[in-house]
Amino acid sequence: MRYIDNLNLAFNAIGAHHVRTLLILIGISIGVSSVILLTALGDSARRYVISEFAALGTNLIVILPGRSETTGGPPPLMGETPRDLTVDDAMSLLRSYNISRVAPITVGSTPVNYQGRERVVDVIGTTADMKEIRHLEMAQGDFLPRTDPREASPVCVVGEKIRKELFGPEKSLGEWLRTGNRRCRVIGIIKSTGVSIGVDLDDIVIIPVASAQILFDSPGLFRVLVEAKRSSLIGAASEDARQIIKDRHEGEDDITIITQDSIIATFDKILSTLTYGLAGIGTISLAVAGILIMNVMLVSVAQRRNEIGLLKAIGAPKHEILKLFISEALLFSVSGALLGLLLGLGATEIIKRLYPTFPVAVPAWGIIAACGIAIITGVLFGVLPAKRAAELDPILALEKH
């Protein structure tokens, strides 16, 4: 038999039962579209999180005070308190050739007051390099001036939301705010970028690190942001940082270093796994669709005993019958896969319209996996009914009408 004739006959056979064919197609297409949709969501979440972390800065290294590691053995006899990280520790890091910028960071919250309007906000104490390291952009004015980090100058930079709430339509640059018990002059407004990894840059006040230390009465830093000169130097820069702090802390290795790379790699791994998991869940519905195909094909074989018997009697060998029924299963699964592809892409398009900030896109592997699995399950589940048809005894099949 020619392939085209085989296909024609198969097409003819599944076209004869509209409702049944439609139900199968719906079953398969739901499976395919759910695989596509779930991989799209998972993969988009992965890309979203990675882009968020990438937006934190480039070649970023974060240094935290205290050593966080899990070691075996008994607890130390003497209590071990990590040494504070100080501004001097932070600035000494600039001695390394591999490090281009350093921003010490202190955080806390305090009430901020302007002409009787008051609210509690998160305050970050840092230095001028913070702007470059975190890629901050200014809506108005300037960032913190490049001065000695130990100098507590009475200036501040505020987020867009704070500006709106405290000043409204009035002029804000050059006005004096009261932060806690200190006064500072507004010298810049940060351009609104929305939430970035838990920190709403619109809702903060940034002051010089020395001012913050006085304000919160603590010499220790929350952490130090370090920028390596090049991405290839991140490893070297981390080592330098560890060595420099160790030297300054009398040989005590009491800091934790996190590189942006490792965070991104970790999230990439976690979210990729999650996406594969989601794809796997979607695949279950494809397996269900495959069983649906098998069921319908078995019914079809039972109903078409006469036809199969006739074909065998007038000279169709077993393998032609097998081919014919597998073609039918294949037609179901291919057209179901195409329909599901359209549905899945349509649904992602709708999500894209509804949530424009979330970058939904279907990964190519998701499409290939969904359609491929649909077609393979269709054929696999079509084999059993097709075999049953091929093995049918023509004498018995032609006996009764």
Partner: protein, 224 residues
């Protein structure tokens, strides 16, 4: 052309063996017109199925056109059926979702003939059987006689050497049945071997050679 020698066919029904055919010796020449009659359960259908290569005898040898066909593979048997044997059934066995012309063309499709050649051949055959107007009708739009004529077209499309008709008039009224038999006899006059299994004595009598089967044995073999 058909040479059966010592053919037996046993079926196992529960614990007992049923001898559907016992020691059948039969020679049928090219162009013969043979009717097989006998009561129900006499083995005439089993004999027809064995001649048609749909069933395998338990014992004996079968030469079809000097070729031993016992023990051939499914694929080879299918090819022999396709190219040498035309089937006419009591219940026509047309595929309902296909048109008359498509039904007639199925053996050609199975043989892998290109569509254009197929169409010409189907049209020619259907025209010669007076079905030119019916090519695009579905079986349920045709009368019983027309359906059987479509089935005969399908049986003839491969130019077989033998036609096996199993109760070809069993589902038709007398007049139409007669027409169908006339048609089959015309084919026989052109040289096709015709084997008709029937209950109908009138139709059976028309054959030049008449077999009677009882309990799986040939009890009568009349030629005139």
């Amino acid at each position: 052309m058909i040479l059966l020698n010592g053919i037996s066919r046993d079926f196992l029904l529960g614990d007992t063996t049923v001898h559907a055919l016992s020691d059948i010796n039969l020679e049928i020449g090219q162009g013969d017109y043979l009717s097989i009659m006998g009561p129900s359960g006499s083995g005439k259908s089993t004999l027809l199925n064995i001649i048609a290569l749909l069933d395998r005898p338990s014992k004996g040898s079968y030469l079809l056109n000097q070729k031993n066909v016992i023990g051939l593979h499914d694929e080879e048997l299918a090819k022999i059926r396709r190219e040498n044997i035309g089937f006419v059934f009591q219940f026509f066995h047309l595929i309902h979702r296909l048109t008359a012309a498509e039904n007639v063309g199925i053996p050609l499709i199975l043989s892998g003939m290109p569509p254009q050649e197929r169409r010409e051949r189907v049209e020619a055959v259907m025209e010669s059987f007076g079905l030119a107007e019916r090519t695009h009708h579905k079986p349920d739009q045709l009368s019983g006689g027309e359906r059987q004529r479509v089935a005969i077209c399908r049986a003839m499309i491969m130019h077989p050497t033998v036609i096996l008709a199993d109760e070809p008039t069993g589902n038709l009224d007398q007049v139409t049945g007669r027409q169908v038999i006339d048609l089959l006899e015309d084919l026989n006059k052109e040289g096709v071997t015709l084997i008709v299994v029937t209950h109908d004595v009138d139709i059976g009598k028309r054959a030049r050679r008449r077999l009677r089967l009882v309990d799986g044995r040939i009890v009568e073999d009349i030629r005139n």
